[in-house]
């Protein structure tokens, strides 16, 4: 009988677990790792940012800081503000990331987050406009991965949502006579978040098996990945399947169902955390 070790033949090692419908760390195929989130006023909040959140999915740790600034809207969309997501994978999160400008994975993740914001209409850009053609809010959402153990996209979307829920924007009015803007830092309003998208990632093994919430090791061994983003009404916002092995329609439907269940779990968690920090 062959004894295969985790380092010598990782794929065989994994297959033996998958045959029993479980994974080396003890999880079921459809089970998520322990998710914890710290928002704003709790520990590890970033007081220099307007909104911040720290999300841990197992070992994967992602921190999101949102800074709001003022700018003139673009000429062709005078009534829209800006949301600029930026995912950074610094060299400290995993050995394979080099220091320097963002690599492929970081760029792809940033674009994914931008698409999620746009497709789910989480924040409507018209809401960010203060005065048509003159002044609008810019929300810089910086998502930094502190520890990369797989499933970056889920954690990033979650961290972004949590941080945005925590953002308080000061009231800005434009003085009619002078045309200058006046900012009232004392009076702050929370951001209007219309939809709450949640991402669920799956890894495809051997073209057939789907496992949820892959760790870094599983992502390396997988033959493909799928990320499904749903909102609170059970509607599909986006399906991200960058190549990899093909999926049948039925399997995709399973993924979507699992994603909808996951959305409810995440929403409950966020609501619980927000309720625990709002002053009574």
């Amino acid at each position: 009988l062959s004894i295969c070790s985790r380092t010598v033949e990782p794929l065989e090692y994994y297959r033996r677990f998958l045959k029993e419908n479980c994974r080396p760390d003890g999880r079921e195929l459809g089970e998520f790792r322990t998710t914890t989130v710290n928002i704003g006023k709790c520990l590890c909040s970033i007081t220099t940012a307007d909104g911040s959140a720290l999300v841990k999915l197992g070992n994967t740790t992602v921190i999101c800081g949102v800074k709001a600034e003022l700018a003139a809207p673009a000429v062709d969309s005078a009534n829209k503000g800006y949301i600029v997501p930026n995912v950074e994978l610094p060299s400290l999160c995993a050995e394979r990331f080099r220091s320097g400008p963002p690599g492929e994975e970081a760029q792809a993740a940033s674009q994914f987050i931008a698409d999620v914001i746009e497709n789910s209409q989480m924040i409507v850009k018209e809401d960010l406009c203060i005065a048509n053609g003159k002044l609008a809010w810019v929300l810089y959402c910086d998502i930094i991965c502190l520890d990369y153990d797989g499933n970056l996209l889920d954690a990033s979307v979650f961290a972004l949502l949590a941080a945005l829920k925590n953002v308080q924007l000061p009231l800005v009015t434009i003085n009619e006579e002078t045309g200058l803007s006046e900012v009232n830092l004392k009076q702050k309003n929370p951001l209007i978040i219309r939809k709450h998208p949640v991402a669920t990632s799956f890894a495809i093994f051997d073209d057939t098996l789907l496992i949820v919430d892959p760790t870094a090791e599983e992502e390396d061994l997988a033959t493909g990945t799928v990320t499904i983003v749903t909102d609170e009404e059970g509607r599909l916002c986006s399906v991200h399947k960058p190549g990899g092995s093909p999926l049948t329609g039925a399997k995709l439907q399973d993924c979507i169902t699992r994603a909808i269940t996951r959305h409810k779990e995440v929403k409950k968690l966020i609501d619980k955390v927000i309720k625990s920090i709002t002053p009574k």
């Binding site: 007081t47 220099t48 600034e69 003139a72 930026n86 963002p102 940033s110 006046e182 830092l185």
Partner: protein, 269 residues
């Protein structure tokens, strides 16, 4: 500003709302500065240090100062280097874009990169005497620091965190390098203060950052400048800084001890 093709771009220019808050905010700040009792210049802020918290790096440390400075650092043990010769220590220092209190730092901007490179060079200067590089010929040791929030004394906190991370990674060291920052406010007869907070650092006339190897009582780096007064003042500032480093040393050692105990417990379980 040249277009950064690797990042999503927002508007060309944007200003933080605090700029437009006008005189109201400035009055508040001045009131805070003068109304509050002048702080004890030798008072050290509470320090929190924890080692061994990242799963992907060989060694890691998180240091948080009472003023709000948060630094996370990861270290990797010896890896093969292409060039022959003694071991090399490669340091990297990054600021998160949301770390500063005012405008958001632009990650790709030249000014940011220059500042990061300077800080990385300072970090290397402070850590090299502490590491036994002679034991790692033809190898490179990598240290990467990330500043999550800048509340003053950022470089000093980064030095402490980096030394902790290297020790946590199992790299052989002579001693932990402990960092301490000082600053001198612009008032004419003001004295040097330990571990300034961010507003104090911004208004300071002179700044100093020290790195000390406490058990050997050797200074590994002194960085700073400004209008500090006669040389005796600077000597006194150095002594104050050294004292501050000695006082922080037990906390850092405790955190290392706890991290190794945790690791042993996890391995045994």
């Amino acid at each position: 500003m040249p277009l950064d093709h690797r990042r999503l771009c927002g508007p060309e220019e944007s200003q933080p709302p605090a700029l437009w808050a006008g005189t109201a905010a400035e009055d508040d700040e001045d009131e805070e500065g003068t109304g509050a009792a002048p702080r004890d210049p030798c008072a050290l802020r509470p320090l929190f240090a924890r080692a061994g918290l990242l799963s992907q790096a060989q060694g890691s440390a998180y240091v948080e100062l009472g003023s709000g400075t948060k630094v996370l650092c990861a270290a990797w043990g010896p890896r093969e280097a292409a060039e022959p010769g003694p071991g090399r220590l490669l340091c990297e220092f990054r600021r998160a874009p949301f770390a500063g209190r005012g405008a958001r730092g632009r990650p790709g901007a030249v000014a940011e990169r220059e500042a990061e490179r300077e800080a990385a060079a300072a970090l290397r200067e402070a850590l090299e005497p502490a590491v036994r590089l002679g034991r790692y010929p033809r190898a490179r040791l990598a240290v990467s620091a990330l500043l999550l929030q800048d509340g003053g004394s950022a470089l000093a906190a980064a030095v402490s965190a980096a030394a902790l991370a290297l020790a946590d990674a199992g790299v052989e060291m002579y001693d932990l390098a402990v960092g301490c920052a000082l600053c001198r406010p612009p008032a004419p007869a003001a004295s040097w203060m330990l571990q300034p907070a961010e507003p104090e650092e911004r208004r300071a006339a002179a700044r100093l950052t020290l790195a000390l190897l406490p058990a050997l009582n050797q200074v590994s780096a002194v960085l700073g400048g400004g209008r500090g007064g006669p040389p005796e003042d600077w000597a006194q500032a150095l002594r104050l800084g050294l004292d501050g480093c000695h006082r922080q040393y037990p906390v850092l050692r405790q955190s290392l001890l706890r991290a190794s105990q945790r690791r042993d417990a996890a391995a045994a379980a």
